[in-house]
Point group: D2
Chain length 314, copies 4
Amino acid sequence: MSLTIGVDVGGTKVAAGVVDDQGRILEKLRRPTPSTNPELTAGVIAEVTNLLKAKYADVSAVGLGAAGFVDETRSVVLFAANLAWRDEPLKQKVEKLTGLPVVVENDANAMAWGEYRFGAGRGEEHVVCVTLGTGIGGGIIVDGRLYRGRHGIGAELGHVRVVPDGRRCGCGNRGCWEQYASGNALSHEARDLARVEPGRAARMMELSGGTVEITGLAVSQAAHEGDPAALECFDTVADWAGQGLADLTATLDPALFIIGGGLSAVADLFLDRMTKVYTESVTGRGHRGIAEIRIAELGADAGIVGAADLARQQ
Amino acid sequence: MSLTIGVDVGGTKVAAGVVDDQGRILEKLRRPTPSTNPELTAGVIAEVTNLLKAKYADVSAVGLGAAGFVDETRSVVLFAANLAWRDEPLKQKVEKLTGLPVVVENDANAMAWGEYRFGAGRGEEHVVCVTLGTGIGGGIIVDGRLYRGRHGIGAELGHVRVVPDGRRCGCGNRGCWEQYASGNALSHEARDLARVEPGRAARMMELSGGTVEITGLAVSQAAHEGDPAALECFDTVADWAGQGLADLTATLDPALFIIGGGLSAVADLFLDRMTKVYTESVTGRGHRGIAEIRIAELGADAGIVGAADLARQQ
Amino acid sequence: MSLTIGVDVGGTKVAAGVVDDQGRILEKLRRPTPSTNPELTAGVIAEVTNLLKAKYADVSAVGLGAAGFVDETRSVVLFAANLAWRDEPLKQKVEKLTGLPVVVENDANAMAWGEYRFGAGRGEEHVVCVTLGTGIGGGIIVDGRLYRGRHGIGAELGHVRVVPDGRRCGCGNRGCWEQYASGNALSHEARDLARVEPGRAARMMELSGGTVEITGLAVSQAAHEGDPAALECFDTVADWAGQGLADLTATLDPALFIIGGGLSAVADLFLDRMTKVYTESVTGRGHRGIAEIRIAELGADAGIVGAADLARQQ
Amino acid sequence: MSLTIGVDVGGTKVAAGVVDDQGRILEKLRRPTPSTNPELTAGVIAEVTNLLKAKYADVSAVGLGAAGFVDETRSVVLFAANLAWRDEPLKQKVEKLTGLPVVVENDANAMAWGEYRFGAGRGEEHVVCVTLGTGIGGGIIVDGRLYRGRHGIGAELGHVRVVPDGRRCGCGNRGCWEQYASGNALSHEARDLARVEPGRAARMMELSGGTVEITGLAVSQAAHEGDPAALECFDTVADWAGQGLADLTATLDPALFIIGGGLSAVADLFLDRMTKVYTESVTGRGHRGIAEIRIAELGADAGIVGAADLARQQ
Ligand SMILES: [Zn+2]
Ligand SMILES: [Zn+2]
Ligand SMILES: [Zn+2]
Ligand SMILES: [Zn+2]
């Protein structure tokens, strides 16, 4: 049986797993990311890989899902907002440290591939995966292949502008979708509410330790308790999310949207409304087929499973 | 030598041509579109096809580029804004009337394919073609194949929302890109200007027969004369066009944008500014490659050439 | 019995009347405005004044309501968008030509004063008059006196910005209230609709001679017939009008709004909705009194009556 | 010599002073506001008043400047956002507890009156005072009299809508001016920046104890040090402030704007830019006089001085 290792490299942790050809994870390891030092980060990736390789002799390749722009040769991380990578030759470094062939991929692309192959996307050939986490990541499957674009930087869906002169975004632009429809957008809504109507936001503030710095978790918990202000925050985010899916449909006309990321764990709080807004906003509605919307199935493992499978397919 | 016929079916005219495998048009025919009657429209398409077939014995297939939504089997026009088609089995009708195999394709897709194969897109594998005409059409080439989406309705780029609660669009939504960056958008700008500052818009009004219903042609001519108000209208459209290309880059990361449609004939009036805005707006700029922007080369023939070639490849 | 003459000087006509101290018009005269020539315009004003004076010996003064900025001494028209006046010493010229004392006032101020004294505003001391004509004019009564501001140019209510980067305005700015809530705004809405959904706008186009240059009259007539698209245009204008009244209430807290101008003749088509939006938008609603909204009573005569009464009070 | 007492009643403190007829404060007292209990608040006001009255036998009246809506009889606080007052008969209570005649006024009105009588507004008759504090308060002087509106709630300038569907406001509406041009708006800008570009906001975060909850003080200090991000936040607020003054000029055409409130202490950081934007945005600029802009002179004492003087004039 052929095995590969998938590694999900985020700003705070490195998570690795040995994965078989059915997408099953046999064993997982996790380490904090030494995010300010590229050399140490490559070292940690190699360390967990070598530990797993020592235990599973069949391991034949490594797939790395990295939070950043990855070049079109799938070798170099060009830029990462939350790590110190700038033109980092990650494939070369990790191959040298592990002796295994390495494929580097954007983390949201790896997640999308994992869901497409073994999760919510099985059986579809035109899939757009939207991960609603702190920001918004994206992955596009066209005719059963991962769409990477000319320079390897396709599907940066969170940075499509949806509001001219809108909210600032970490990418340096204003009005990006992820400022309106992500987990951060959810707490942004809640904090804006709390600053001007602290009475209405009382429960969310209480759940956030008494400050106006309301967390996404606090909004979710309050919403589950039925707090009207928290539900209103979710409604606003759902509206922006649904409109964004409609815009993606105008461009990509997929068969399926998969909604992943941290917010997908509380899909009960926004899925219905998002789907309704989507359905009512697609251009040409009534004269055309539209996409199905499903929640991701692999949870936090999607990146590991996807990266491992991409390494196998190399 | 193998020949195919390409037919471009628009709201006002049907243009057909015999095309060889190098994309050369051997002969062209043109008829007005009987746009309110689907039966007559199919009849006109068959008529020009049969005339050409009678003269060129080698013709082996017909490609139709139609202004509307085409289903994923490339047979049925689901809906057309400017023609009377609703679930029109165009392939079947024209095959019956001509005895030739028929492929139906969206007209902007056909144009994109023509440019990709024989025009500005030769040699590139990730191309997005944007036709700036009365509205905005789009065609996407991925890995050397025409991207059609799950239901055949991909690349409706003109109907991505760029302004919440923005200008009305013919698709029933508000704020669609084609309301800000097309030929119609150009005259919209000019008319808005003329209504409130007739003095500044005097030359454009003069060129439009003395009315505030300023045409795109009048704006172009005035701009070529150096009229400041006309140049201002072009600048506004260029800004929206460049921003839209930046947004498409976030999603699709193409190697190349091809700008076609009526506005491409006056590219000297907006290309530089559009390219500048594009370059300054792409997310991640400075850390990544961006797309080249070229003007279409085949002009009004792109649709015929592209449709004919798609029929050959079938 | 003391009589005065009021003259309403607009861009297309000069209308004069002899008015008694009860605001009754004894006789009226009307002439076209020679709008491109200040000298001729002063001449026409003097001509109608002298004709009336010859007939009514008791006339003691003249009030002129002029469409433009009038200086704080009520003597000079500083600027007029639709006439050729620039720093025009109108008081001096007309006094010389008629031998009567003259007071010059902004036309919307004169109308407001007419309504306050003899029309819809009788008995109130804090009145804001909003004239919804081609643009929006305003007049403010504070403690029973006409509010003129330091330079005589107060109550230019139509040029308060309500949309950042919004529609162009004839004043050179963007986003002014009169671009959203006037008679011109009404036809603007209708024309935008007609351009993208000609089918829905068919009745309004028919009533406008078959063009998309739909007139405000056509929208009104279609709306009275129940045409849904026309009613939608009125709803949009009503929403902007109501919000604007709410904003004026935050600043001025009047007892009464008087709605005049051409649109007030079809108040049945927007008054209820405008009032509802106003009531629901006033800051502090629920904890405070708000203004009453009434339709103007003097119609097109308000300017004559108001100007005449201002001349009497001098 | 006649003396009166002015009391400034805010959400956190009660500040009282004995004031002579030249606007000089002879002695001041300060207490924390028991803001959740109307009875105790009236008690504290009476306590400081009685202490001062015991020492200054000449005291003849009391003026209260209260942060809330005050009714047109200047007796009752209808509503206060930061205090527990709802239809609070403050005049009656304090008169009973002190034996002195009492006048109640909105706090921003009292400040405006103080500046008009003894501060930056001396000698002008058409003054608009804008206090840029946590929110925006306003006071209007017309013909040398305080403008109160029909219900006593005029000059709530902070709650004029400047952005449709804009930021939430504590008043329950969206897009109010005070969400864009106040001290809170300044920290709002800084926090939005810090969330997406923490690197650029590093100095402001450091000055705020290492959190993204950047205070207005931290922005000011960083700006004085030349921090580009802090200066950018001030520029944004200056632009909104200048545009708002231009809108007020369209309505009120004052001779003078007085800028007070906490932000006025750092006027060097925004006055030039605000004035430039104002000058370039006034409707009709070039054909009219515009207002002068001055910084308030009485600082935090303006409310005490103004309230005391209003009590004297009663
Ligand atoms: Zn972004
Ligand atoms: Zn559209
Ligand atoms: Zn204007
Ligand atoms: Zn507000």
